[in-house]
Each structure stands twice: as C-alpha cells, then as structure tokens.
Symmetry: D2
Subunit: 370 residues, 4 copies
C-alpha cells in the first residue's frame, strides 16, 4: 500500500522551486528548463547585480512570455531564508563555491532541498580539495551531498536533499571514461590502464560565464583556438580522478587540457587511455551500452563520431569509442552541451532522479539542429 | 451543449501527423517541435534523398531519443497516399513549391489536413505570381488555402484544412509593418505612408537550406556579410505587398533587400517607412500592442531593440519601433528565429489555432540564451 | 629642377613614425601596416594601460618578429613631447577625441605631422558638433585639418600636417554615395535626390574596440544580429552629411542605422536613395568609375555585389549599384574592412597622398581569402 | 669572387612564377603572398574548373587590384608545358597528389623548378605510402624531392628544384615535437620517449578546401566541434613519423586525432609525450630556441600559450611547452595559420631558402589582429 501511495505521490507531485544566480548563463538555462518542466513551478529568482530587474530585462529571451518575463529578480541573503522557505520546496544554487557553502547550509537548515551547481560539495576528501583550491575545505556538508551525475549515483540520489552537480568538463570526461574503468564481478579488470589517461577538452565560450573579459571578447575569441589552465591547473581534475577511482577501485590519474573554441555552447572531450590486452572498441561500446541502460547517454554506432552541433539545448550526451591498433591507444569521445547536460539540465535530471521521476521528465532530448 | 462538447474535444484531441521533407532544416525543426508537443504524435516521416535512413542517421540530434531516433524515413509518393491516410490525420509539407502543389491536392483529397511550408499557396492572385516565379500559377487550391500567419488570419484559420505558412523574410517584415498599415474604423489612416517602404533583412545561413553550396561553404560564409537577390529579385516581395495591401486597403509597394550574415539561425528585418504627420513611436507601440493582444509577438519597451540572439529556438517574435525626428522616417524592427517562428514553429502555431488550441501549445517560448 | 628634386625626395624619403594608442585594435592594425611599409619606420609606440609591456605582450601577433615584438610601449604625455619630437617625424593618434585635441596641438607645435583617427577634427562647423557630442567644439585646429578620405580630398591632402581620418561607417557610406551626389559642370544635377537617404550598416564587432563589454562578450555577440544607436543617435551621421553636402552643393540629410553582426572585421553599408529621373545603375557605375580613377576603390561589375569577406586586411573598398525599377529606389552598397580601409589603412593611404606617394604604397590590396 | 657574385645575384634575382590550382584556397593564398613578394612575379595562373575566368572572378579579393585581378586563369595541360616554360622560371603546384606526380615530372623536364603542395613527394619510402593511400607509390621523383620544412631541411633545400611542402597538421606537429626528439652529440637522448606520442589537432574549416560539402556547410560547421579520421585514418600520420624518426634516430610512433572547429583559418596541435627523467619545460624551450635560431618559429615565454588568433595570415608559428609533474606528461603546443604557415607561406619560405634568400623575404610575419 505504502508503495502504491508513494507512486501516486510521485505521479502528481509538483514542486515550487527557486533559482539563485538566475541572471548568469546556467541560471538562464535553469529558467528555460524549469519553465518547460511539467512538475516544477518557478516561484523565486535571485541575482546579485541585477536584483530589482525583471527577468525580461536580465534575460531578454523571456520578454513577453506569460508568467515568466515579469518575475522580478530578488537579492539573496543567506542570513534570512525565511521568505524563501515559505515560497519554495527547494532551490537551485548557481553561486561561487564559497558562497554556496554558506547558502546551502542555511537553506537545508530551513528544510529546503538544494541542487548546487558549484564545486562546494563535489569532493569527498578535504585532501583532494586544498591543493587545487588553495585553501582547506570549509564544510562538513560534503559528506551529506550526493554527486549529481545520475548515471553514476542513481541509487544514492533517490531522496537526496543536497545534490552537488558536476561541471561540464567533468561530466563529459566521466561519461566517456566511466564504462571503461568500472570493475565488477562480471568484469574484474578495467578495459583500459588506470594511469596515463589524457582528457583533451574543447569547450564553447559560454563555459566562462556571463562576465565579459579580454579572453571572451568576441574579436579575441572568434577565429581562434587556444589551450588554457594546462598541466594540472584546472580545478576539476580531482573530481574526475575521484569518480574514476571509485569505479576502478584503484587510484586513477588524469591529465586534463582544456581548450577554448569559437562557439557559444558545446563541449567535446577527447579521452586517451592505453587499452588493456584484448580490449576492442566494440567491447567498450558494449560496456557503455550496459552502463547507460538508464539515463540520458547515447552510445553512437561504430564509425559515427560525436559532434557538439547535435546537442545544443539537449539534456543528452553522445559517446563513441575507437581503438588505434598501431599504438594500442583507446579513444573515448563525449559531446555535450556545456550549459545543458554539462550543468543545468543535469541538475534537473538529478532532481528528477531524486524524486523518483524519469530522468528525462520535462527535459529537451532533441537539440536544436542546426 | 455542442459548444462544451466541442471544448472537451479540443482539450483531449490528439493528432497523428507526418512530416514530408523531414531531413531538411525546417523538417528537422518540425520533428523537434512535434516531439515536444503534447497533442501531436509524429507517426510518419518522409524524405527523398535520405529515404531508408533512420531519423538518427539523418538528424543525429535525435540519436538515442526513445520512439524517435529509430523512425525510418520513407519515400513520399503523391500518386499513392493511401498508406499515409491510414496512419495520419494530417501532414506538414516541406517540399519545393511545384511538388507541394501536387502533393497537397492528393493529401487533401484523401481527407488529410495539410500545413504547407512552400510558396505554392501563399499568393491569392495569379497575376502576382507569374512575374516573380516565371510561370503561371498551377493550382486552384490557393483560393482554399489560409495564409498561415495567425496574428493576421486568426478567424480564417479556425478549422482550416490547407494552411500556407509564410517564409521567414515575409513573417518578420509583416510582423513589424502590419500594425502600422492597418486601417480601421477607429484609425482610418495608416501610421505610415504606403509607398517607399524599405525592408532590409539580415538572415542566418540556415535559411538557405541543407544543400551545400559555394555561398554557404563555411569559409565563405563566416566572417562576411553580403546582400543577395537585390532590387526586386526576391520572390517573397509580392507576399509582403499582398498582405500589407489587404490591411491598408490600398496598394502597398515594398523594396526588399536580403543580406546573408554569418550566423546559423535568426532573421532581423529593419523596416523603413515615412511616418504620417502626428505619428509617434509610442503610437506605433500602442497600435502593435493592440494588434498582438493574441499571438506570439512581444513588443519591446521604449529604448529596447530586438536581437536575434534571444529568439533561437523560440516561437516568439520581438518587435520595436523608433522615429527619426530629423528625417521623419519610422523604423520598425523585428527579430525572429528563421527556422522556428519563420517556418516550423509558425506552422505548428497555425495548426494550433486551426484546432482551437492556444497559439503557444507545445511550443518553446523561451529561446536558448546564450 | 625643383620639380625633379622634389620627385627624387619623394622617391627616397623615409619617415620615422609613432603610434599613440598602439595596443588598441586600430593601433595594432597601424603597427601591422607600418611594419610592412617600405618608407615608414616604427620608432615609437605608446599606450595608456599597457605602458611598460612589450608589443609582443600587448599584441601577441608581433611575438618573435625581429625589430618589432621587443618594442616597449611607453606612456604618452601631451605635456612633454620633446622626446617624441627628437625621435619621430610624425605620429598616428588613436585616442578618444577629447584627448586627441590636446595631443594634436602639442605634437603639431613641436613640428610633427599628425594623422588623427578620432572624431576631434572631422567636423568643420561647431554647430554640427554640439548636438551630437553634447558639448561645444574645443579647438580651432579643425579648420587646419584635412578630412582624410583621399578619394574626396586628394588635392588638399598634399602636404597636409594634420589629417582627420574618418571612421568606418562614414567611409563606407561616403564611398558608395559620393559619386551619386557630386554635381559638376558636366553633370549639374545629382543622380539621386538629396533627401530621404538611408544608410543601413552592418559592422563586425572589432568596431567596438578592444575593451570587453556585455554587448561584445562572445556568447552574446555570436549568433545574433541587432541594431544599435538608431534614429540619429550615431555621432558619425553629421560627417556623412557634411561631406555629401559639399559634393552636392546642397544640404543632404541621412538616416544612419548601424547593426552589429557576428564577425570580427568588415563593414557593409547598404545605402538607399531615390533615383532622379533618367538615372540608371550603369550611369551610377560610370560616375563612380570616373570618381575613383585614382584611389583604392573597386567598382564591381554589373550583377556582382560586395561581400566583406573579400576585404579582410585590405586597403581597398568594393562598391556596387542597382536600381529597383518598381520603386525607383537606387541601391548603393559598399564593403570595407572596418579596421583597415575604415581606419588604419585609410590613415596610411592619407599619409601616402600627403607625401606625394602612390595611394597604395606599402598597403595590402589583396585581402585574406578565405 | 664567385661567392660575392653569387651574393650579388641573390640580392637582385627576380623569378617569374606560376600557380597551378590558383582558384583553390592554398592557390588564392599563394596569389596573395606572391603579389606581396619583392622578388617574385606572378605571370601564370591555372585552374581546372574556373579556367577562362579572371582572377577577380575566381578570387574577388583581387578585384580591381592593378596587374592582378585581370589575369586570366588558364587550363593546365601536363602534356604540353612549353608555353609555361617560356614564361616561367618555376611553378607552385596545388593539385591532387596523383596529378602532381605527372605535372611535376613534365615541369622539371622542361627545366622549371617545382614547389609542390600535395602529398606526392613527401614520403621517402614506398612502404610508408601504400598502407595509407591504398596504392603503391608511383614515382621515383620522391628521392629527388626535398621535404619543404625549412627549419628541418635548411641545408638540403639550398638549390633544390623539387620541393615537397608538408601539410598543416604535419607542420604544426613537427614544429612542436622536433626539438624534443632530436638526438645529437650534445644531447644523446631525446627529451621525451619515442613511443606513445599523441597529437590532438584542432583545425579551421578552410583546411577542407574550397569544394562545398555537408561537413563544411556553414550551419553544420558553425557551433560544433568534432573529431574526424581518427585512429590512424589520417594520411599525414606517416609523414610525422618519418620526420621524427630521422631526428630521433629511432622509430617513432604517433597517434593523430584531428578535430574540426568552427573557424576559417588556424590549426592548433596539442602534443602529448612522456617526458624522460630530468626533462623540464625550460629545457624544452631551451632546445627549441636552439633548434629555431633560424626560421620563422617563435618560442613563447613560460606561462604563455599559443592561440591561432594571432597567426592569421602570418608565416610564423608559435610554440610552447609545459610539463605535468603529476603524470610526467610533456605538453607541446603549436599554433599556425593552416593556409599560410601550414601551406602557402611555407611554400614561399622554402623557395626563399632554396634561392639563398632570407626565410621571411616578402612574407607577412605579423598576422591580422584581431
């Protein structure tokens, strides 16, 4: 009886949600996705610099949209969340990671659920945190947070109140590599070696956020491709290692080299790993199809290769594998939309899973083409 | 009683629809929009060159999407539509205009409704057709067709079985100019003069369709802007004149100058007309707000100007007005997504109106940003 | 004798020049062009924010180039130009117009020639200046300045010590319209009416300069086209009117509507004017070929239309004409590279003409393709 | 005496040259560079499909340029090169590699020098050729050809009559890796291991040539990044291995993964190799500075990273190194303009070296910025 009641509840439940940081790019994408979601009502939007503006002013794509464009951005004060508590069941947080730590504590304390898009709660071990961020890890909440990659943490997500959604580089790298490194009773050894893994990512400029800077100024971002934060300078490296090490049951080391390419959305991760003896590309596809029986990952057919073009606005990821017989190197490639699957759509997908709803509920699975 | 029954039917009706020309860009956009529509079921997709391929092969953005990517593109034979009749209630046609004339006749004859995206049925007078297309108008169906711009033909669309959806240049020009030229009892004179109207459009490259050509080759389309089909060479000019003349109750002449700009989606129409004495920009906004009480057009606030950036993937249009006091020229500007509001979303909107559903049913009103 | 000595001098003369504002986009373009010029030696570069940096640091395209990348950017102090006087024969000024007024006075006083790229000295009548700039015109130097569009002011430029180079919108509009409006003994009436002229420009983002801003942030400039500074808000309007009025011998009024398009370099001006009775497109081409016997303007063949794609990095302009028989509107279109022909290459061309050198000396006439 | 005569000859020599394949992208770039070269006169241009057109028609960037735009494209017939022999000293060949083999033989036989941009003469061992091209190597001329990468084959190039210019992927990979793999008496061991080298390239779309195709159609190339010809499918892999193996004195194996990114020009090679014990990034920079004492390669300062933005139109390459202490992987990154340094400018540089002229003679060393 309890079970069928629970199912009934799942089928009719509606949630009132808020977005803090709604005027940024992941915030704007959350607004778009929540607006199209049949079970979520957007009742609260907050932003720092644009507080007082309407959504239509801050995000002109909402201008004239009934019940949306006229919402007014409010300031967010983690010291007093009583008003939010009265209006919302939960909140998506798009804040810098230091601010997220404080905000999440207050919101959880007030009984709301929190889907956090910052790095505040992603690393489980403080020791992994300090060398990359330059300061010790501030909060004990990390242990309560569930890592918000549904394909890797489905069971833990069910009922979760604090979800730490990974970023775009990490999502793409993990979706390509996870099936290769997972060891299980059925397959006691990984398909690739656990050391010497290289992740070469190519990301669109929206990943840098909405604040203008020299490196994102159109004339200096168009018609140029460049690496940045190379050789261990990218803070998301330890997240990739944390998650792959869990799957492999062994310490995994990864070199991440991000590149900025002249497009707005999209992230492609080209991953290189040494194949273990006997590994074939087809075995990798097989392992991935099995790994992604549930979720929003498409394994491409042999000879097809991912292109970020096909994922713009979509909650899906495309993954492909190829083996270079000459060098024994296995290639795993994953394409996503960095703002959708790499951030906001993944956040909604994680919330869907947390509520027992289908992963894809309310999420666009067909990207804009072209 | 009949009325409430009719309303009940409207609220529960589902339609099985097909898309002919599904592998082109407007076809792919129709697939995306129909997939997200709560009352439409996509049961039939056809394409000429790619017949036999799955949708996932033809439009990789559908790969892995349940109940969609695996659909197989069929050849379309206007000589035998019995199979389509058995499976569909109606069909969207994305064919060259000559082919559309034949196809629509067959499909209507079989009892299906037709939403046609070609120019086959848009012009009411054969005399308007021949000088621009070089041959006489082939079909008597034009008189039965309803021009598929819902904001201009709402009443006629209700129950329509053949809808002739306008193209992107025409949609944007009409949405900016229609409120300025409409004469009514309340306002017996138009807000602008009916001659000397200039429409300078800037369109994204997807408007040229999916077939590669020298002028759409990336290295020759990126980093360049150019006019094309100037001084009366663009075939959609007479449609603009037909619709504006109806509204003005007088013959309206328009010069259309299209330009290709290096972006994929989007069309901006900058329209110039001589203001009549006493006309102000605010009076134009007022007239437009009144004209667009229903529909999917947002009139921007004073000092705001449209940007195609904010409409990508959206069914909405943004319109703004400004008056140059020095020269007496009125500026009307409209931004749309050429594939969405300028083609496929407008087609779905027209069908929505034809069925008595809300204009926006199942249509994305919030574009991708960024 | 004097004449042949003068010619000999012209043929062997070398000039030592400086660039103030060398770290901006027009400054960087001047550095590129001066580096490739056989008679100019770049001996002094100045910048405000980047003073102390090497050119290689400020403009990485110069990194490793012998005798260039290692130049150090100096601060520029208009209060003490003695050091500049000792090292330079003349200076290119790329400063805000207020700063230019002061700087030019000091440099001219020290005996140097000045090629100014700001608006400080372009308008001849203070009355034209104030309504657009909001303050009265500060300097008497404007009367001594020669308007630096060589095709319009060739004779006055010879020997000029202060050259006021026009901006990109003005250059493109003037190059398309000047031949149509010039009245002469041979042709007492202009080819078009002098009122109701519309200039609809489409410009690349580099025209906004090197300082990042929201409107030039890549994700908000790519994939969008938009008008800005509409209905008489663009300060360069009075320059167009000043120069066309001189040619027409009558007051000319122009409406300028600039648009930002997602490309880095390039500006296309689409100009609309009412043709006078008897005017044909071929007559316009004929008049333009005659007007541009000297200089760097290519009149395209009938049916060819300009494309900014073909001018990137080039000192040339492409111009074409077409007449719409239906409305009697004449279309004049001009494409340029906004940073080259629209600023820095035009500055060098003007200096070439001032020294009696060929217009094209040291200037790239073949743009990058693609 | 002979020596000073030879020097005198080098200082005054002019060459009459032709370009076969002048209407393609590398052809157009050759036209631009030869036009700006003080010792080369372009006297002959040939093209297959566009024969009979003027250069201005085929490459509108040359329209109106004196002595250039009016050149007429001729058909090229390798069976009768007598006319070419009478007019030219040498010819640049931009043909498919099969056609190049025949053409080069005829032209060399007629006493002309040949600078070949195809793959016809790059591989020294037929055994290296067949597995990648699917057919045996047709010509004995390969042994006479000098590999046209001046920084690697300076001495052999002097006086060369047949130069085989490498392509863009190979140039960028070799310029980054060559200094790391060269063994010499002074440094008996390479700085990196000779196996497991990965080259991940990101290339602009112009690398695909001028023929339109689905993958280069603007709407499907803009806003997307994708790998292609992965795991040993790229034919230029054996060239990289050939040249690195010569330098290392040992067999070197490389995995090349090219990616298409949405920009017109530019190629970035991100190269990964395992550092040998004791190797530091500074040691790599030191080795590279020594390797590139002559030539057109800039080694960037520590912490600077290459960006193709800064090389557009330039004959230079930018190279940087970094070492990942955590994984022991050395990163070498090289940025070039694929059409300039990666093809046409490298061809002219190789000819310069062959004639004893400075590498940079007549070549732009400062790219367009922005």
């Amino acid at each position: 009886l309890a079970d069928s009641e629970s199912k009934l509840h799942r089928d009719t439940e509606r949630l009132r949600v808020g977005v803090v940081g709604a005027a940024g790019y992941t915030g704007a994408e959350l607004v778009r996705l929540i607006h199209g979601h049949p079970r979520l009502d957007l009742v609260y939007v907050a932003a720092r610099e644009r507080a007082g503006q309407t959504l239509a002013q801050a995000i002109p794509s909402t201008a004239g949209v009934p019940n949306l464009g006229e919402l007014v951005l409010e300031p967010f004060d983690p010291g007093d969340v009583s008003q939010i508590r009265d209006r919302c069941d939960g909140v998506f947080l798009g804040l810098p990671h230091e601010a997220s730590a404080t905000a999440a504590e207050a919101l959880l304390g007030a009984g709301l659920f929190v889907v956090d898009l910052s790095a505040a709660f992603r690393l489980k071990q403080a020791a992994h945190y300090e060398p990359w961020y330059g300061h010790p890890h501030a909060t004990a909440l990390s242990q309560r947070a569930v890592y918000g990659l549904p394909e890797l943490h489905r069971a833990e997500l069910l009922g979760a109140r604090l979800i730490a959604v990974p970023g775009c580089h990490v999502t793409s790298a993990l979706l390509a590599l996870a099936p290769l490194l997972r060891r299980s009773t059925a397959r006691p050894a990984a398909l690739v070696e656990t050391d010497g893994i290289i992740v070469d990512t190519k990301t669109g400029v929206s990943g840098a956020g909405r604040s203008p800077s020299a490196s994102t100024h159109f004339p200096e971002a168009a018609e140029g491709v460049r690496p940045y934060k190379v050789v261990g300078a990218h803070r998301h490296t330890p997240e990739i290692e944390q998650e792959l090490s869990i799957l492999a049951g062994a310490s995994v080391r990864v070199l991440l080299t991000p590149h900025l390419v002249p497009m707005t959305r999209g992230l492609l991760a080209t991953c290189y790993a040494r194949a273990r003896p006997g590994t074939t590309a087809e075995a990798c596809r097989e392992a991935a199809r099995d790994f992604y029986r549930e979720g929003l990952v498409t394994i491409l057919e042999r000879d097809d290769l991912p292109d970020t073009l096909f994922l713009r606005g979509s909650a899906r990821a495309h993954v492909a594998y190829a083996l270079d017989a000459r060098t024994g190197i296995l290639l795993g490639v994953c394409a996503i939309d960095n703002l959708a699957r790499g951030a906001s759509a993944e956040a909604v997908q994680a919330l869907n899973v947390a509520r027992g709803w289908p992963d894809s509920l309310g999420l666009p699975e067909v990207g804009l083409f072209p």
